[in-house]
């Protein structure tokens, strides 16, 4: 059996003597005997070598695709080597939350740098140190906007279904009414939204780009929202955010999003990163940890967790959010990634994704039966029809080691990133021609 316990059997006996008891059984004297387990029905412990073999065998049962054309909430981007190196450092990996600021300046400064970068990405005034993911971030953003009078949230039907699902679950808890804004031609129907607004509406949530990859008119949405006294929450893609109007430029009050594209691997769905940022006015409604700059007694610049009186350990049942542990190491990952890419590198990533997606869309839609479904401007995801059954098509692509787009209503949602070379895209197009002509 494996163990990470350093104390020897002799040392354990010495400790028992110091405590003044005979055996470790005496430590559990307070536990009623009828509850004590005789036997834990799990396998015997194993040596590191054996466990390594067994888990590797599990990993080998998965298929890692040679080319990935699927997004829909999780994105295949390049992770620079230094990102893995830095985030693998044992101290960063094993440190606790930086409540003891004097010995945690490294962790705190990193969060401060991260907060700055998220504010740059979104154009906002304040960012928190992370929440669990983009979906829970969207739900927490809705909580930021509701008050005693306004308890209804309007949510775009063009948002990612899992985000909508998460919002609904959180609102089941808070008693907030969720009303869906219909979509038209793959975009949020803002006229319909306007007719759904009343004086109990707190906010509108829209995704940018939306689930179908389409670029929404968030500026118009912000105007409609503010005109009626409500807030706009934008769920933003961090790569698209480099090139298209920022949340701030659109007039959003809160920007949230999924930060996984910023250096985190696909990893079957987690751990990912929820980033949240807001205008200054909404700072004190922001959940989660926030790091602030200050000085120490000697006048040295330093960083510290601040505005803690918003949080659960102080407000308890009066806290607006219960969040305690967040996705700190993932936030660090994003910070290292953005530092490595830099201003220009991020512009390159965005440009590559945009250009390749448009190239792929043009090529694919020129194949009979693969018409583009939503004709508006898109960033790096787009939906095409399919002339054959989607599942059959995708199975054929799988044979060629290609993970095709995600089947959605009306067709297939394709995603193209900087990881898809021209050769890969051309190979996909050939494969699609082949599959569609066989049937």
């Amino acid at each position: 059996m494996g163990s990470y316990i350093p104390s020897t059997l002799e040392e354990r006996d010495e400790m028992l003597r110091t405590i003044g008891i005979k055996s470790t059984d005496d430590l559990y004297a307070a536990v009623p005997s009828q509850m004590k387990l005789n036997h834990l029905n799990i396998p015997e412990g194993m040596a590191e070598l054996t466990v390594s073999e067994k888990i590797r065998a599990m990993a080998a049962k998965n298929k890692v695709f040679g080319s990935v054309f699927r997004g829909a909430g999780a994105y295949n981007h390049y992770i620079p080597s230094i990102v893995k190196e830095v985030t693998g450092k044992e101290t960063f990996l094993t440190a606790y939350t930086p409540y003891q600021a004097e010995i945690s300046q490294g962790v705190l400064q990193n969060i401060f740098e991260y907060q700055t970068m998220i504010c740059e990405l979104t154009g906002m005034d304040v960012a928190n140190a992370s929440v669990y993911d983009g979906a829970s971030g969207a739900a927490e953003a809705i909580t930021m906007c509701i008050d005693r009078k306004r308890r209804k949230a309007l949510v775009s039907s063009a948002a990612n279904p899992m985000i909508i699902q998460t919002i609904r679950t959180y609102c089941f808890g808070s008693g907030t009414e969720v009303v869906m804004i219909p979509s038209r031609d793959g975009l949020t129907d803002l006229d319909a939204a306007a007719s759904l607004i009343d004086d109990t509406t707190a906010c509108i949530y829209m995704q940018q780009p939306n689930y179908f990859g389409q670029i929404e008119d968030c500026t118009a949405a912000a105007e409609k929202a503010h005109g009626a006294g409500l807030k706009l929450i934008m769920g933003v893609d961090p790569v698209a955010a480099i090139s298209i109007k920022s949340a701030r430029e659109c007039g959003a009050d809160v920007a949230v999003g999924e930060g996984q594209p910023l250096g985190m691997p696909l990893s079957f769905g987690g751990p990912y990163l929820g980033f949240m940022a807001s205008t200054k006015e909404m700072m004190r409604r922001m959940p989660g940890r926030i790091v602030g700059e200050t000085k120490d007694v000697d006048g040295k610049r330093a960083y510290v967790l601040t505005l803690q009186a918003r949080e659960q350990h102080i407000r308890r049942e009066k806290a607006s959010s219960n969040i305690c542990s967040n996705q700190a190491l993932c936030a660090m990952t994003a910070a290292v990634y953005l530092t490595t890419m830099g201003t220009k590198g991020m512009q390159e990533v965005a440009s590559l994704c945009y250009s390749k997606a448009h190239y792929a869309a043009a090529q694919i839609s020129s194949i009979p039966g693969f018409d583009i479904v939503y004709k508006g401007e898109f960033f790096y995801e787009f939906v095409t029809k399919t002339p054959v059954d989607a599942d059959k098509l995708l199975a054929k692509l799988e044979e060629k080691d290609i993970l095709g787009g995600y089947p959605v209503e009306g067709g297939i949602l394709w995603c193209v990133t900087e990881m898809n070379s021209k050769d890969q895209i051309d190979a996909l197009v050939s494969a699609l021609k082949e599959v569609s002509s066989c049937n």
């Binding site: 028992l16 536990v31 990993a59 699927r70 909430g73 101290t91 920022s246 990893s267 120490d296």
Partner: protein, 480 residues
């Protein structure tokens, strides 16, 4: 030390991206961003050095003893990290066809089978990303249970005053009203107060056992019975599971739903505040409400199962998979004998530390404790003006991370110590000596402790200024 932004220079950078191999397109002008998003521009060597400097100004389990009560800062085995980084896991898109992710589903389902057995539950979700997230999820299961039965009057959750702040905060998020009940002089649940608090509005009780003063409440079966008889359900906060895993199971104590902190009990690393994972287990009657996408055995392989009356999702996808892999490796290494051995040694180490300090420091509940014990510095505050904060800051000068302070709320000037099982007797003896030295200083030279720490990169901070005038990001306009 400078920020990365302050080290940034126009014209520096790394060369990560190749040139575009397809025609370059630009976003139409009317949709384009006007204000550039600015990130540091640094060469890789300077990035490497920047983060090395930050690492030196941080403190991990690799640096030393980390006795934070209720955090279980045990050693994080490196095997776990290597397993989580296997390309066969990291390269898997969560929306791949089920037959191409059998290994991932096997990981989750296998861990569930072990954790169900350890906790005495029958169903589990790994979707919650943290303990508090798990609390929220578990409370929604309770809410769904009552709502489904048409019992809509049940809108209160009973919580003892020793509870962690997340318990009442999660209850509020789940739409419940919190009824706080006082503990008795032993630090345990006051049964009379509990009986007086239950009623037709009781949805449930949130409790951790052992509690946050480190004591196993021997009345636990009576407590959970009182709640069941009143028509409520019992929620177990698994933060303190390290003391009893493999010895006694929450399911056998009368709990209906629990959360487990994989980043505490099951050795996954804390990452500076996350990611963790707050697996939620439940008994049969709650399984129909579990979140979507549960990994289950399915014929000859594995698949996803969506509960009939699922509460939905608490985040996208299936949970912090990288954390789940780590926990699985840990449980496989320890196995059926290693799990209870870890628990009993965590309790042994805590009692050894307590017994070694009891003649020097005030320990309010000075009897056999579980995996943690609470010290009070109230006497030193009264006599010498030295507080728990001062002691904590003094420890920093010795390179020892302080314990949890000012929690639980029922103890004045509290310091909560949890050594965990992965500390040697030598380490414990060293810390005990240090604490005795600090105590002597508190008696002979209290002023020196008010000034502590002296040897850290920064000293005591102006937290009032930080809160009154928050500066939460780099100011690009400030003079360089």
């Amino acid at each position: 030390m400078q920020l990365n932004y302050e080290k940034s220079r126009e014209g520096r950078g790394c060369s990560v991206m190749p040139a575009c191999d397809v025609p370059v397109c630009k976003v139409p002008e009317e949709l384009a961003r006007k204000q550039t998003a600015r990130f540091p521009q640094m060469a890789e060597v300077d990035i490497s050095r920047h983060y090395t400097q930050l690492e030196k100004r941080s403190h991990g389990v690799n640096d030393g003893f980390y006795p934070l009560g209720s955090c279980t800062m045990k050693y994080n085995p490196k095997l776990n990290d290597e397993m989580a980084a296997l390309p066969g896991f990291t390269g898997i898109h969560p929306l791949q066809p089920v037959h191409t992710v059998q290994g991932c589903l096997e990981v989750i389902s296998t861990l569930e089978s072990y954790l169900d057995e350890i906790t005495g539950m029958t169903g589990m979700t790994f979707q919650p990303a943290a303990g508090a997230h798990g609390e929220f999820t578990g409370l929604l299961l309770i809410k769904a249970y009552h709502t489904h039965r048409g019992d809509t009057k049940r809108n209160t959750i009973i919580i003892p005053d020793t509870a962690h702040g997340t318990n009442p905060a999660s209850s509020t998020m789940a739409g419940f009203k919190v009824i706080n009940i006082p503990s008795n002089a032993d630090g345990c649940m006051d049964l009379d107060a509990l009986r007086a608090a239950v009623g037709e509005d009781t949805a449930g009780l949130m409790l951790t056992n052992p509690n946050t003063v480190g004591i196993f409440d021997k009345n636990i079966l009576e407590i959970t019975k009182i709640i069941h008889e009143a028509g409520g359900l019992n929620y177990y906060d698994g933060a303190n599971l390290n003391s009893i895993m493999g010895v006694v199971r929450p399911g056998d104590m009368g709990f209906d739903v629990i959360h487990i902190n994989l980043h505490k009990t099951f050795s996954t690393p804390h990452g500076g505040g996350g990611p963790g994972a707050g697996a939620v287990g439940c008994k049969k009657e709650l399984e129909q409400f579990l979140p979507l996408y549960r990994a289950v055995k399915d014929g000859n392989g594995y698949g996803f199962s969506n509960a009939e009356h699922s509460i939905g999702s608490v985040k996208e996808f299936y949970g912090n998979f990288g954390v789940i892999v780590r926990a699985l490796a840990y449980v496989m290494v320890l196995g059926r004998e290693g799990i209870p051995e870890a628990a009993s040694n965590a309790v042994l180490n805590a009692n050894y530390m307590r017994a070694s300090l009891q003649d020097t420091y005030c320990i309010p509940f000075n009897d056999i404790c579980m995996h943690e014990f609470v010290m009070s510095i109230e006497d030193l505050k009264r006599d010498k003006g030295v507080t728990a904060l001062d002691i904590a800051k003094a420890l920093l000068d010795y390179g020892v991370h302080p314990p949890t302070i000012y929690f639980p709320l029922i103890v004045e000037e509290a310091m909560m110590w949890e050594p965990t099982e992965t500390e040697s007797k030598d380490t414990l003896d060293d810390v005990v000596s240090i604490l005795k030295e600090i105590h002597a200083k508190a008696l002979s030279d209290p002023a020196s402790l008010h000034e502590a720490p002296h040897s850290t990169p920064v000293r005591r901070l102006d937290e009032v200024g930080a809160a009154r005038n928050p500066v939460v990001k780099y100011d690009f306009e400030a003079d360089k």
